[in-house]
Amino acid sequence: MKNYLKILKRCFSATKECSGWLWASLAFTVLSTVAELLVPVYLGKCIDFIVGPGAVDFNSLFTYILILLGMVVLCAILTWLSNYLTQVYMYKATDTIRRKFFVKIQQVPIRYIDSTTHGDLISMMVNDAEVMSDGFLEGISTVFNGVITIVSTLFFMFFLQPIIATIITVLTPISVIISFYIVKKSEKMFRAHAQSQGDMTGFLEEMITSQGVVKMFNHEDENIDAFADLNKHNYTVGERAEYYSSITAPTTRFVNSFVYVLVALVGALINLRGGISIGVISTFLSYANSFGRPFNELSSEITEIQAAFASADRIFSVLYARNESSDLELPEIGYVDGEITVEHAYFSYNPKQRLLQDLNLKIKPGQKIALVGPTGCGKTTFINLLMRFYDLTEGAIYLNGTDISKVKRNSLRSQYGMVLQESWMFNASVRDNIAYGKPNAPLEEIVEAAKQAGAHDFIEKLPRGYDTIISEGGSNISQGQKQLLCIARIMLLKPPILILDEATSNIDTRTEMKIQKAFDKMMQGRTSFIVAHRLSTIKNADLILVMNKGNIIEKGTHESLLAKGGFYANLYNSQFANTEE
């Protein structure tokens, strides 16, 4: 319960920009509910004017019908306003949540994004945001509407006839008790069903993605059997969940009918003793319905409200995640020529597993540093630390004597040019893609950068030159061309330090040879870090750091390392080992 309150509070504070809409919608909900409840009172009066043959008071009937006409129109307008405002609030709230969510993604540490599946984050953005505002809104307006209906109905009813009023008041909530009981029973089934859906989805993802392998191994029948088992289980829990939730409606309907009959019975008996008119009985019959409605609505929406809380909880787990530490107060980094010092650096992704241990390095401006070692040895981690995608656990990294944790991240990161294995293009023109880091660059500058990267020739051959739109996923240009565009991007910025993280792994060696020139040109006079598993690409580095299990186990030039005959020499020789049989 406390947890629910906390989530609710967070919801209100996360959407407080839109709270004006919320209050307006609630105000009109109150007005329209009260107006709607007055209508049956007047309808009952009308009935009382129609007593029997020759005993119809047409004058009064006509007056009341006119009054009712006005009331109905007023009611409709109020209902429309409350509907409209409520839904506007809901969409504005969803909009706000999505916006905050996206902005939040830009602020959390990269570590957070690395450790969360992207599909999950996207699903929160798309599905949960909607489920949440949907459920809460329905919940809030149902509860609010319900409370108002109940209170005002109670008021009218007790005013008209206390005995019947008591019957309705006491019996109707039974339906809520029943449906609460059912919901509690079915909750386990619902969870089991959701889990089973998840399992099936996972299985399908795995097997359809790998259909090629499945086919190759003639494994279709086994898979169909395995899926049948999952499917059967899904049926069992799904059928039960659906059954339980579907019996809520008839049982609450029963309670309502029961109350309805009882009102008629007791009403009739009281009438016989001259207590109330038939018109009042008709008013009560209609109240029996409207008093029951909020309870029915509440019980039918319990599942949705539950879902909303679950979604909200997921969203807030992100919205309330810790941001990257603030660097607003910190100064910009000063002049950087590429001198880097690493002192006693320690790092671990989790406390159990140390990744970097007591790393010490001194790198002079313009040096070419290669990082070599098996997968998972910490090469990429080192890059992450240099750019402060991750922060050191202990120790410090200095750029020209400035501790990089003591300056603004943005100013630090703009000192680096980075080319990754996956060349990231976005759906825009070639020109915009090159100018990604310097959106206002004039065309001449962009062309100059492209020329330096050796990309100008192929760009010219594209159907619309620099204005060619790169399609989503970049399928209209080749891997190698994409990499050249990435290089041009960096040529435009001329940063003092370069990072090439497996930049050529997705490219065949022949293409690599062709763009190697562009790389060499880019690296001239800049401190460069190269991560690669193809050793041929790093032989002429000034310093090769050989890493294994988070430690630098060897360092030196290609020649000195070969002469040493250690880990590196082994790796290198195996590449050129005599493989003739």
Partner: protein, 576 residues
Amino acid sequence: MFSLNKYLRSYWLKITLGLIFKALEVVAEILTPFLVSKIIDIGIANNDKPYIFTIAAVTLAINIAAVFFALIAQKCSSVTAKGVGRNIRRDLFAHINTFSHAELDKFNTTTLVNRTMQDVSQIDRAIGMTIRLITRAPILLIGSLVMSIIINAQLSLIFLVAVPIICIAVFIIMKRSSPLFDKTKVRLDKVTNVTRDNLGGIRVVRAFNKQADETDRFLKANDDLTKINLDSVRISSILQPLLYVIINFAVLAILYFGGIQVNIGNVQQGDLIAFINYFSQISMALVIVARIIIVYTKTGASIKRVKEVFETQNSLALPQTPYHFNPADVEGNVEFKNVSFSYGSSKKNAINDLSFTAFTGDVIGIIGGTGSGKSTIVNLIPRFYDATSGEVLVNGVNVKDYDPVELRDLIGFVPQNNVLFEGTLEENLRWRKADATEEELIIALKIAQAYDFVKEKPDFLKTRVLRNGSNFSGGQKQRLCIARALVGKPKILVLDDSSSALDFQTDFNLRKAIRTYLKNTTLFIVGQRTNSIKFADNIIVMDNGNVVDIAPHDVLIKRCDVYKEIYNSQNKKGVK
């Protein structure tokens, strides 16, 4: 061929029972106001207490019966809905498993998963809803109409005017709002895409300090979405108040004309109360109809999507009388005769006029740049695709004349991406040969250079493999995939660029072991490293879909420029 009727037919009894019991429940519901009006008209009018009690008791009894009817009906509906859903899913998955690569390329994984899960769920939801509601609306409608006509035919004319007006109002509003729903989907996709893009490139975004611009890009997509949502609100929020006005105006008409009828003694006071009640039931029925229409529109789209999968047939025609062979003494000869191939809609050939022959025990290397058509060649051997022209022969017989299962049993295939499946290591290794002995598995592991690290696992062959093999490193996965293909000694072994994550020494040991243990296996190695294929009997050099040359290393290094270029790019020592 997919037809929903076929699936519904096997549940005909449950559907019928469900509909009948649901109808009975609704009848009880309709009788309630009728009986209550009798309490007022006869009981009160005649001061007849026993009559009042009797009718009240009867009404109550009917309602109790109604609950039980409802429970039976709901059970029938949930069993039918979920049962049909289960059966469709079962068949759909089996059908997906008959697809060849061409069909799988046409759809993608996400849409196939979504169709199997979400779309089928939508269908079963609609079935359940139909059983629960479809009888309700017409019975409420017709029952209420009949009852009202019985009470007073003239007054019921008011219904005949009001009902069509309500229908028209509902229809117009739905017609105007449903195109907006489609647009909403498109814009929601855009929001999704921007988010996915951003997450994928998060390092680039931060390295270039572009968080603010990215947020702007997102806001644009998000604003568009909100705008269309608000447009649809403007339309849909009118429906409820509009219905309210129509219904209550009708009620007022009933009061007015009812008053006249009561005055001349045609109708009783209690009848009017019942009349008003029936009218609200009729309008409820119409609301149900509107809801059903919305669900059916959505379901129609889902049925179409499911149907599309079912109607897609495996494009590889199976032979009438497949060629059979004796697995005990079969060879591993492979021949390509003037083979050309192009993918689906692409006009460009991925392979152009390729011919070569490989005999049992030969090693064929295939080399070339990314996208040169290397992998395509080996994909034709197990008949993942059919050659566009020319013939692929295994042991002199066209692969099209084999039963695909038997053909693939001959071949061990290690794909580019290393896929392991959730389960135990042992289960993964037995994919080619379900009854392989532990010894066979160990030999395969040893050849694949995987034995050493598997041996260190406390559970050895029973070690759990997590989904996508995520608890193994890239190199380990690759070696396990190789081992998997070796179990049962295939006659033809294909390594499709599958040693890229191995260091050079392991790669070398692997090739040596394969040559030693599998002497009678024809080996295809697709690769980028010249060193991995240098020892092959024949090397096919591919460039951009064209066969540049086919010859052993020694010949190629002298006469083939492309090969020389590749070789030098990897082997020239001391560039400086």
